[in-house]
Symmetry: C2
Subunit: 462 residues, 2 copies
């Protein structure tokens, strides 16, 4: 019996490794387009910035290590079509020009091919822009910037996590970084008022931030310079980096008849089964349920890819061994995310006020400023907190934290509340830690819970 | 109608302030032995160490500020006896030697007199030892050490939070600090294996740690030096600081017939009512339910004092206004605590392995090392994690975190799990945040949950 895995990063290799352990009798073949397996995509900006010296440090487990574990990993190999009726996949060896296509049969197929970068469809972008989505692109980008003159202007398109992290790395390296986005705010997963605080920080750090700019063209100038043209102005650049997010890789799946969901990503059940028998999907190419509002969204994060890969692996092993269903279920996400940019920690969970309003969810929101340490200590830090709760029930709907103290990871408390349906009334009474180096006697998230309880006229409001 | 509050710190003043707002018709009198109200007891080591320059910075709200708010605060006044039948309290003005005692009547009485330091009952300790429990003692201590020669030896008795924080402050100030405790470990709220890591850190930082030493006497030597004598040796000291914890102040309450609980502190119901009609109690002098094991414990922490004071205030206002009961309930604690010592962050929640064993709770414990950031980043930090879960159910019973990364506050996630009865099976699936500056794709607490699920043979174990 054979498990065929398409895509050799977090989701695919987690599943493959699980099946390897749980079902030693199953042959496992992994087809991966790039040269790497199981690497940290989120680590790329740190490699480009130089915090991580050696690219191999980002590789958790190499193809050879997986092979030694009994998994037949075929790198630089591309899957081009799936035939669910015949249970075969057509693959192509990318290292041999004109190599003939090959059919690989499967008993179980895991579709874990991730996402591909959203590239601007404007003249010159293809030719002059460097995408930075997979690890070999990160290697190319670093080599490229190391060849530039020290204070060269570089334009980064995309003011999301990766774009901001790259712009920061460029400023630290002495380049002139221009961050462009057509959105009116940085970091769309934040509400605009919170994003404005982040934007101000980027500017203070030395990044030129240009929002609401639509890219129109990239043109060559003299001396290797390019001109990045937007509807609101043009910027000279020695390099254009494309970091405008990524879309789930679903074309091959859709062609094979797999059902797509409302988000445009693959629809799967809690065992990561697709709509087609014998085919599972996991990672950046699937959608999952947002447990706060019930919507289905495509969330591209390594944490989900790991969990989903494991759940898929358990279900695949069960099915290949003749059992009905795997013992684990991936029920969904609450949209937790975190980043550290320009020395600030930024995190969020649940839904935003913008989303609550758009969906007509009756709610209250509060925004306030606190300190990361007791306010009488030196360098107490400033933290901007925003929290939302549902009217009537008091259920915590979301939280956003932005500030210069070490408070980012505190979002996990709110994430737990969002995922378990904890109310602000309950949250007030939780026994959260206190000591002066970590804040006031009332934890910041509990201050938010109290304010929300009062604003929603819920009882008790401490 | 009159509310009489005994004790003007967190619990007492929180209750008084609430009643002031909720029941403007009630006269409120607060009797406080010291000169301060509403101050941060936990801030004292930072004031002694010099991080906080001015003692007033530790005072959240002064007696005058409370008076301006319509609360009759009588500082330097001591309550000496309660007559529950007559609903009176006998008080004494400490500022006038030989002042006559006075009777104060009440309709509601809140007993919030905190705890008093545990002083070693050995010859010389009284005469030569400086306790550091209330703010004026902190002021005295700082003045005293500022009069010592720069590298003077100082002995601190008590290797709990305050003792360790003080010893650190002394080393930073250039003194030779000796930390003594009769216990075989520092920080009794940790398991011995975790405490050993903390002890090693204290030693590396320059503190002389002497555990398992029973204090026997303090004797004067020449030149203002004292000799601190234990069963295992003697230590010269220019100063002896007593920080061996504190016991709930219950003598006056017990004399008035209020019921004490199994912990030796006052027994109260979820509205903070004592066993005697018309008398409430809150803060360091009461016990509350440990929600993990059901035991009743005396936990002396500002967070609880604030919450309990608020709950008591709500119930008192309700009763004085003819309603049956206040709308809030303090159901208990899970023993969450945190400190930062010698640049390390140390936190804990729930019960320890030692306690689980002693109580015969069928459980599994895991201990492992992780990093505070992704392991490929520079200065990733080391975090030692210990976690416990109940056999059969998988309910999280406790967690301990010790390390040099910024991970202390992550204990609040485990605290939420402990308080809400979350299982390790559930915990694995929570959407906790991930980015390289904050750890690996699997959050440390989820690594613990996975290990525990596997060890307890629970399903699923991711």
């Amino acid at each position: 019996m054979r498990l065929l895995v398409l895509g050799g990063d977090a989701a695919g290799m987690t599943a493959a490794s699980h099946v390897r352990r749980a079902a030693p009798e199953v042959e496992i073949v992994v087809v991966e387009r790039g040269p790497y397996t199981s690497y940290s995509m989120c680590g790329i900006p740190f490699y480009v910035g130089g915090d991580v010296a050696d690219v191999d440090a980002l590789v958790v487990r190499s193809p050879d290590a997986h092979r030694a574990n009994g998994i037949d990993v075929r790198t630089r190999t591309e899957a081009v079509a799936i035939d669910p009726a015949a249970r075969t996949v057509t693959v192509r060896d990318l290292t041999v020009p004109g190599a003939p296509e090959q059919e690989l049969g499967y008993d179980a197929l895991l579709y874990a091919v991730g996402a591909h970068p959203t590239l601007p469809q404007v003249p010159g972008a293809d030719e002059y822009g460097l995408p930075v989505h997979v690890l070999d692109e990160g290697v190319t980008l670093r080599r490229t910037i190391e060849g530039l003159r020290p204070d060269a202007p570089i334009v980064v398109v995309g003011a999301g996590y990766v774009g901001m992290e790259l712009a920061e790395a460029l400023v630290v390296r002495g380049f002139e970084a221009v961050l462009l986005d057509r959105s009116p705010q940085v970091m769309k997963p934040l509400d605009a008022d919170m994003a404005a605080l982040v934007e101000r920080r980027l500017v203070d750090f030395g990044i030129t931030v240009k929002l609401g700019h639509r890219l129109e063209a990239v043109r060559p100038l003299a001396d290797g310079l390019r001109e990045v043209v937007t509807d609101l102005g043009a910027f000279p650049a020695e390099l254009l980096i494309l970091a405008a997010g990524a879309r789930p890789n679903v074309a091959m799946a859709a062609a094979a008849g797999l059902r797509l969901g409302e988000s445009g990503a693959l629809r799967v059940d809690p065992q990561m089964r697709t709509s087609v028998d014998g085919i599972w999907a996991a990672g950046d190419c699937v959608e999952s349920v947002n447990l706060v509002d019930g919507s289905r969204r495509n969330v591209q994060l390594g944490t989900h890819a790991n969990k989903q890969g494991k759940v898929a692996g358990m279900d695949i092993a069960a099915v290949l061994q003749g059992r009905d269903r795997g013992e684990a279920a991936f029920d969904g996400h609450v949209g937790t995310a975190i980043t550290k940019v320009c020395e600030w920690e930024i995190s969020r969970t649940g839904i935003t006020e913008r989303e609550a309003v758009a969906q007509g969810i009756d709610h209250a929101a509060v925004r306030f400023e606190g300190t990361a340490k007791a306010d009488y200590l030196p360098d107490a830090g400033t933290v901007h907190v925003k929290m939302l709760a549902e009217a009537g029930t008091g259920r915590v709907l979301g939280a956003q934290l932005v500030g210069n103290g070490q408070t980012g990871k505190r979002i996990d408390v709110a994430a737990t509340w969002c995922q378990l349906g904890v109310t602000v009334q309950q949250a007030q009474f939780l026994d959260l830690s206190y000591a002066p180096p970590f804040g006031g006697t009332w934890d910041l998230l509990q201050v938010g819970a109290r304010k929300l309880a009062a604003k929603l006229r819920l009882t008790p409001a401490l």
